[in-house]
Symmetry: C2
Subunit: 148 residues, 2 copies
Amino acid sequence: MTQEELQEKVKTIFSLYLEKNQHRKTPERFAILKEIYDFDGHFDIENLYTKMKSQNYRVSRATLYNTIDLLLSCNLVRKHQFSSTNSQFEKSYGSKQHDHIILTDSGELIEFCDPRIQTIKKTLEDLFDIEIEHHTLYFYGTRKKEKS
Amino acid sequence: MTQEELQEKVKTIFSLYLEKNQHRKTPERFAILKEIYDFDGHFDIENLYTKMKSQNYRVSRATLYNTIDLLLSCNLVRKHQFSSTNSQFEKSYGSKQHDHIILTDSGELIEFCDPRIQTIKKTLEDLFDIEIEHHTLYFYGTRKKEKS
DNA sequence: TTCTTTGCAAATGCTTTGCACCCAG
DNA sequence: CTGGGTGCAAAGCATTTGCAAAGAA
């Protein structure tokens, strides 16, 4: 899928979601979606605000928070709490489900996929008779020191 | 281990930690540790503050935050971010390592242990040549609806 | 005595809210 | 037209910081 096809795809998904939930299709909402999907990696509200302001969008933080909530609801965006200060986000459509390792000394972020997390999920669903919608898994560690 | 023995044990651990790191052994620090270990389940700073105030302790939120940081450093307390609003804590010594399921409809919290998380950890350590200190794993879900 | 730690209050910073105006339906 | 959505500024709230006083070493 090209970047352009991805943009079209998520625009359609968002559009259908808004329709279904009787929310209006404002240009702001689609502009924000586009900016998010133009960007790779993690971002926070301030990043996004600055990025859009520098491109001469007229947008407010309130609308960013607002729209991100909608995008979370239709699973086009994922939310993270790496630190307790602010929330981080990333686009989620078209990218593999993954979890994170945070290297606490450097702040570096590693993404990984491990199928065993799905088997744990299944076990828990059966064991507790629940339906699991999503999960968050973070490992915190450091690079191994070389032996001297 | 009785509750009393547990209290003695963690007091000793904390004491040694403070010594080793050249922090002072103030009565406030031990009072806070005691209150935390007297309590079962999760709590936040406000809970703890109210609880201690109602027992006529003279204590400030600043000191609570401060002391909790020390207790986190010596692994006597664990920190959680269930929501993005505030941090939750729980005592960690003498209780099995466990992870959490959050039932988003009721707010109910389930604790579980799954050894497979340790095998994932090992895999990652080898794969990325890192040392993992700890992790957080939360599953978010709902009780299964009965078929009607 | 010395200098860390304390309580208090003010400050900070992310997020939410109130409100008048705007515009999608 | 109408009511939901927007930008802006103010308010909220958890956490951090500054500072004078207290007290551990």
